[in-house]
Symmetry: C2
Subunit: 321 residues, 2 copies
């Protein structure tokens, strides 16, 4: 059985994984999920990326929105607002609240996030092994021009992304706590035993980049001795969804499919898929020592996404030679 | 302005208070609420009696049910059950959850329950000053015949009351932590400054009895030097609602309006109202040194309840002499 390890963020990672499962239903898939966008709200621990993967693969996702639960209601949030308790800009629905209540209760009882995630997945049966990148707290902060005053200030990634819609100029992205964090149990083992490692078209800075910022993970990917293949989240010099261009700019990387590949670098990446509209950049990527192919990269439905995943695995085999 | 202090449990206390407010709208009413039935559920601190008083007086109560919120939904609870997380026997609705989330978050931030209760009441504006009997944790446990096996076991009051519907034989009622608890800020001061102290037709064992079990409160009631008048929760030798007879039996008290008065005792009570059907017991109460009157005691609506409250205040004036 082919062992595939995927480093995933939220919506992009989750949708890619659905395509991957469809492309290779018998594969043994381990997902290392980003927890840098985790946030404590109302005293509850919220893990947006892990939940998006879990809900998407488990059939509970709000399809159009891409995050949160289907058939969602908002009574709790309305009541919290009636108490004057916010933030109101983060959309937590009633069904979603239950997930955070269970998680918070288990963490308070002493279970690490990896054990909690496993327990939550017992219900959702995502068909992959979902691991948080770390059981330690890592929280991505963004240094921005203060929207309410002079100077700069650091805000939680969710505040930058969800509340400010990435409209404030970002000067630095800091995964607070990452340097002290340890990979969660199973992460390094999964990488060491992988047959192929994939980077889905997730955000290269605040999703995959944050996972790679946990000491040991970047090295384990580089040293795995197996093909590492990524898919560009940038198509036609713009992010397919989200605001990756803003955070790429903050780390000094151009918003092109080739620049993202060079940002990961040939020390990490063996292969890179760009969209057909970016076929002109294949040479630029290959010049950086990374095998590159141009294929359709729009995840319009599961079938199209499965073809992308199959192309990534094909490129991996080609790289393996 | 007349200063009235009321020692209140849940539904009975809350409905009585609504009548009292209607009878004396200009009075300064302080409510000392029972917290012995507080319970931690799903990692959240739930205060059923305080909330019933707050919701009832604030217009948010589920009228027919007597507890919980009106227009309630149960998405969170359904989801928790889908995770296999219980208990399922405790009916927490989505709107109610928000209250417990706010409370738990404030307590985690270091606020005492009395400050939290005051904050919650800023929204509900109950028109009374609602104080928990104590900021310290007190939890009423009931020693019962184990419904699942041989022998006896102690269960949380809510498990006995809500899950088991008081069907298991109760041998003892223990307010765990009461001996070490201190009255919440304002409790002793309110009693010392009261013009009259009332015991509504709340449960004499697990509601009013638990409040009196906090060291200092019973003494403050007895030493206040003002009329203390109660209303019988037992009418025609049976509780008007709830299962007070079961917990009275556990403490060796007959389920009669007179026995409850004697249980409080003339050291505490100056006056006692029994229902007209129990007029035959007035002599028995007065023989115990407690002034007694028989008046209608069914809280069928706010008007009837206001008349009961007015009778209690009238008896207090009579006692004051």
């Amino acid at each position: 059985m082919q062992r595939i390890v995927v480093l995933a963020g939220g919506i992009g990672g989750a949708r890619f994984l659905r395509g991957l499962k469809s492309a290779v239903p018998d594969a043994d898939i381990t997902v290392i999920g980003n927890t840098g966008d985790d946030i404590h709200l109302f005293g509850l621990k919220v893990c947006p990326d892990l939940d998006t993967v879990m809900y998407t693969l488990g059939g509970g996702i709000h399809e159009e929105q891409g995050w949160g639960r289907s058939d969602e209601s908002f009574a709790v949030k309305e009541e919290l607002a009636a108490y004057g308790v916010g933030p109101e800009w983060f959309g937590l629905g009633d069904r979603d609240f239950a997930t955070h209540i269970v998680r918070t209760q288990m963490i308070a009882a002493g279970f690490p996030l990896s054990a909690v995630t496993e327990a939550l997945c017992r219900r959702w049966q995502p068909g992959v092994r979902l691991l948080p990148m770390s059981d330690d707290r890592v929280e991505t902060h963004v240094l921005i021009d203060d929207p309410d005053g002079e100077g700069r200030k650091a805000v939680h990634f969710q505040e930058y992304w969800v509340r400010l819609r990435a409209a404030a100029a970002a000067h630095a992205i800091v995964p607070v706590g990452a340097e002290q964090a340890k990979p969660a149990p199973g992460v390094l083992e999964a990488l060491a035993e992988a047959d192929v490692i994939l980077f889905p078209p997730s955000n290269p800075v605040v999703s995959v980049g944050t996972i790679l910022a946990v000491p040991g993970i970047r090295e384990a990917v580089a040293d795995a001795g197996v093909p590492v293949v990524g898919l560009s989240p940038i198509v036609g010099d713009a992010p397919v969804r989200g605001m990756a261009d803003k955070v790429l700019a903050a780390v000094g990387v151009e918003s092109t499919a080739a620049a993202v590949a060079r940002h990961y670098g040939s020390g990490l990446l063996d292969g890179w898929l760009v969209d057909t509209v970016d076929a002109g950049r294949v040479g630029e990527v290959e010049a950086a020592g990374i095998r590159c192919r141009a294929v359709p990269l729009m995840m319009t439905d599961t079938e199209a996404t499965a073809r992308m995943a199959a192309e990534a695995l094909r490129l991996a085999e080609e790289v393996r030679g």
